[in-house]
């Protein structure tokens, strides 16, 4: 591989960008998609070979949000060894923040015609808006909250957990406990978030009709661009000095700590950033899907995210994006084509990937395999060392 930094004497940032082949391809596809998809949907009439139907638009938007969520998981799992089985919680919280804004936007167009209270509050006999709903009539506030709430929760949770040196499986299980507790809490109608039905029946966003194709296109493009930005941020973090410490933590936490690094702060930082990204993904997801309900908090949903990352290829960032697309497309495809048997295929896929593609789909593509030199990429010396050590000691 040519070292572009040497060759072109570029700034370090551009340097690592050019060196990141998978990332370049990903960014290219995202940019091209951002331009072509709206054109395909809006310019070409139905029936044309280049027409992008609305339902495909909906699917792409959903996949893009899932990809961003997967990216956020890969950032902490692939590069810092934090296996969060509760990232769906941050996603859902971001989604709820956006959902609350969209709910307030309905105004008096709800079925009961109350100018302030959402429908579900009217029929539960609530007389006034609970305090935590204040401010959500402003878009900017909602967006802020979509990032802040997951961020703060992650910060507090991480602060407690990392300071106490909760690691490995223990951490995974308590993240699961966290999302499970939130699931139960949001199911409660008394919480004021619509209970099991969640928030739904949205009308418009910033004054634009959510059901129009134009708005949909804008949302898809926004999701694609946000994914690109978050990819760049994540890549930036992992390529920086801080990123090298993170990878060191992933591979040998105790040694890093003994070297004098405050491991918990590094972990806390990346965990919080990741949660904010998940929140953004959720906020983009809700207006495109049209509903947010506690189901998103389900531990199974969070486990699935981890699986997307593993299928795509952990520790590569673009692998996570690819994984999210593959698994979700497979789900869309099989639930339609073989509704009675699709779980055999999905289950089989997960098993097969684990057994035969231990580095995910990305790892199986030769160009992205062992040769790729970026830290954290599969097949580098650290991984080899780790697996060698694992074989020495029995279990890792």
């Amino acid at each position: 591989m040519t070292d572009y930094r040497q060759k072109y004497k570029m700034t370090p940032v551009l340097g690592w960008l050019l060196q990141d082949r998978g990332g370049m391809i990903l960014l290219g596809i995202l940019l091209a998609g951002s331009i072509l998809i709206p054109i395909g949907n809006l310019m070409f009439p139905e029936g044309s070979a280049f027409h992008v139907p609305t339902w495909v638009l909906g699917l792409l938007g959903k996949y893009l949000c899932y990809a961003l969520l997967a990216l956020s998981v890969d950032l902490i799992w692939g590069f810092c060894g934090i296996l969060s089985l509760g990232h769906g919680a941050f996603f859902a919280l971001g989604g709820y923040a956006m959902g609350m804004y969209l709910m307030r936007q309905i105004g008096d167009r709800g079925v009961y015609g109350d100018p302030v209270l959402p429908d579900f509050m009217v029929f539960l006999n609530w007389k006034e808006l609970p305090w935590y709903w204040y401010g959500f009539d402003h878009f900017s506030f909602a967006i802020l909250m979509a990032m802040l709430v997951p961020g703060v929760l992650a910060f507090v949770f991480g602060f407690l957990a990392f300071r106490s040196r909760v690691t490995g499986v223990y951490l995974s299980i308590i993240t699961q406990a966290m999302t499970y507790a939130l699931l139960l809490a949001f199911f409660r109608n008394d919480m004021g978030f619509g209970g099991n039905n969640g928030l739904t029946d949205f009308k418009d966003i910033l004054g634009f009709d959510l059901q129009s194709d134009q708005t949909r296109c804008v949302l898809v493009v926004a999701s694609a661009l946000m994914l690109a930005i978050c990819y760049l941020v994540s890549r930036g973090i992992t390529q920086s000095r801080l990123g090298k410490v993170l990878i060191a933590i992933r591979d040998a936490e105790s040694r890093v700590r003994f070297t004098g690094y405050r491991v918990e702060y590094y972990k806390l930082f990346v965990f919080t950033v990741s949660a904010v990204m998940a929140g953004i993904a959720g906020a983009l997801y809700v207006p495109q899907i049209g509903i947010i309900n506690p189901g998103e908090f389900a531990p199974a949903a969070s486990i699935e995210v981890v699986i997307w990352v593993a299928v795509g290829g952990r520790g590569t960032l673009y692998g996570a994006v690819l994984g999210a697309f593959i698994v979700n497309y497979a789900k869309t495809f099989f639930t339609g084509v073989m509704p009675d048997f699709w779980l055999f295929f999905l289950g089989g896929l997960f098993i097969a990937v684990t057994l035969f593609l231990p580095k995910g789909v990305i790892g199986a593509i030769p160009a992205f395999g062992a040769a790729n030199g970026g830290p954290g990429a599969p097949g580098n010396w650290r991984d080899r060392l780790a697996s060698w050590r694992a074989n020495q000691g029995g279990k890792a």
Binding site: I174, Q176, I303, T354
Partner: protein, 564 residues
């Protein structure tokens, strides 16, 4: 099967029409009968009895009620048999001739038993019989009628049940009859219950303050929810009608003392329910304590191993129905080893085909076993269908021990508590005392070293995973008794199981035991205060905070293996 130390459910409405209009008359008639003719001579001729029985097939339930009253008032001993059959839904009208008969199922046919002579008069299929319909109002009336008829039964158990029903009814009109029964009663236990029943009636019927105080005195020493209700009602009435303040104060004191004793029993009940929930958690988690705790496999398919156990129970039961219907009571006992072998077998196969390639990559076991769990769920759904399957509870697991204090210990949960302890004891013994246990511990502690002293590590791995899965299968047998047997069964337990194992400390069996019981008890103590949902949320939050304090669970493994 039921052991009634008290009426199964208290709190009947005192002014039921049946009682208001009919009981006084009925009580007097029975009283007269008892007084005049100790042999309970029949007043009905055979023909009258038959006519009355035919009328039980009336259309409206009011009409049926009238007939029941008329028949019960007669005091004919044969009436009890007819009414009992009606209560049990065994009274039929034959379609051919509209005759009312008692139907008894004999294999595939119903024997017709004549209501008068009690002789078998014929048999037919179910299609030729119309069941005489009853509703809850008639059920109540039938039970009360039977109770009064049975107050003088020679059988102690029947008398005892009758007294409980009378106590439940608390109709003042019953007082003379009860008095009569008290005079004839020889069993001291039952006599005491009768005196108590008399006191509950006296409280409402009493005229003078002294009578009331006497009744309160007797009642205050009791500890049952019914007595509390009686006293509370009395307090309300007393305050409304300005009774003697001394009486009101005494009644209030009595309520307080009954209340405080009931509280203690309630706490006892919470502990029992907590232990019971804990035992369920323990059963669900203990297999995971081996596959995950000992082997380090993040086994997301653990729940499905439980589910396979439950379906095996169902399959075994179906096999019994086909091959040995009479021995159906044994099916659960047979299901335990079969479920162990089936789930264990699946576990061994899974270990050989999938898990063994993943040692040293624990997080990837999560991915593969998650896929496996989807696969197994769909497989079960394809084989057995998506709907619930019915696993019948054997007799020894139905019903409950009921204390008069309101505490109910259900047999199925008692058995499950016992069963969970046996299972854990068994596992501990296997790990501690058998060669396999020794090898298993050796392999998990240091695979290479174990291999180099000649242990076949692959073989031990497979058996260990099989053991964990097999135990999950056994848990499935127990859970089939209290939960749905459906493809989703396992999903409901997987998260809780992981919580328990992690809370107790991965790799420590006793941690799992302690973890399961403490989570169960804490949950059950919170539930009455906070409600089921909040209780669970609190438990989860407490667990998260607890892990901050002890990052490796209750019992942390010590030594180098921890950091590896």
């Amino acid at each position: 099967m039921r052991q009634d130390f008290s009426p199964p459910a208290p709190g009947r409405m005192p002014h039921h029409s049946f009682r208001r209009f009919f009981l006084p008359l009925f009580a007097i008639m029975v009283l007269m009968l008892v007084a005049l003719a100790p042999q309970q001579a029949s007043a009905f001729s055979d023909e009258q009895l038959r006519q009355n029985a035919e009328q039980l097939n009336a259309k409206s339930s009011t009409k049926k009620l009238d007939v029941i009253e008329k028949m019960a008032a007669d005091g004919d001993p044969r009436v009890a048999a007819i009414l009992e059959a009606m209560l049990d839904g065994d009274l039929y009208a034959s379609k051919a001739d509209d005759k009312v008969v008692i139907g008894k199922k004999q294999g595939k046919v119903w024997q017709h038993i004549d209501v008068v002579s009690g002789a078998v008069t014929g048999e037919s299929g179910s299609a030729d019989l119309d069941k005489i319909r009853i509703n809850n109002r008639l059920r109540g009336a039938l039970r009360d009628a039977l109770a009064t008829l049975n107050l003088f039964s020679p059988d102690l158990a029947i008398r005892r049940a009758a007294v409980e029903t009378v106590m439940d009814t608390r109709d003042p009109a019953m007082a003379p009859l009860l008095q009569r029964a008290i005079e004839r009663e020889s069993n001291p236990d039952l006599l005491a219950r009768m005196e108590l029943a008399k006191a509950t009636m006296a409280l409402a019927a009493g005229e003078t303050s002294q009578e009331r105080l006497d009744a309160i005195d007797i009642l205050a020493s009791q500890t049952t929810p019914q007595i509390r209700a009686v006293l509370l009602q009395f307090v309300n009435a007393a305050e409304a009608e300005n009774y003697d303040p001394k009486v009101v104060a005494a009644a209030k004191d009595a309520v307080a003392s009954v209340e405080s004793r009931l509280k203690m029993w309630q706490t006892g009940g919470d502990v029992y329910r907590g232990i019971s929930l804990g035992s369920v958690l323990l059963l669900a988690a203990v297999g995971l304590a081996i596959t995950f705790g000992v082997m380090g496999v993040i086994n997301m398919a653990h729940g499905e191993m439980i589910m396979i156990g439950a379906y095996t129970t169902y399959a075994v039961q179906q096999a019994f129905l086909v091959f040995w219907p009479a021995g159906i009571g044994w099916s659960l006992a047979v299901a335990v080893p079969v479920a162990f072998l089936v789930s264990g077998g699946v576990g061994v196969v899974v270990e050989r085909l999938i898990i063994r390639f993943l040692y040293g990559r624990p997080l990837e076991t999560l991915l593969a076993t998650w896929g496996l769990s989807l696969f197994l769920q769909q497989a079960i759904r394809s084989i057995f269908g998506a709907s619930n399957r019915q696993v019948v509870a054997p007799d020894f697991m139905s019903g409950a021990i009921e204390f008069s204090t309101g505490l109910v210990l259900t047999y199925n949960r008692l058995w499950i508590i016992l069963f969970s302890l046996i299972v854990v004891g068994g596992i501990a013994a296997v790990l501690r005392y058998t060669a396999f246990g020794l090898q298993m511990r050796a392999v998990t502690q240091n695979r290479r070293m174990a291999g180099s002293v000649g242990i076949r590590t692959g073989y031990v791995d497979a058996l260990t995973f099989g053991l964990g899965s097999g135990i999950a299968g056994i848990a499935g047998v127990a859970l089939s008794q209290i939960d749905n047997v459906s493809p989703n069964l396992g999903q409901g337990y997987i998260i809780d199981s992981f919580m328990v194992v992690v809370f107790g400390g991965v790799g420590n069996l006793w941690g799992t035991v302690l973890g399961a019981f403490s989570l169960g008890i804490v949950n059950k103590f919170l539930e009455p205060v906070a409600g089921a949902v909040l209780a669970k949320i609190f438990v989860l939050v407490a667990l998260i905070l607890f892990i901050q304090k002890r990052p490796k669970g209750l019992f942390a493994l010590k030594g180098r293996a921890v950091e590896a």
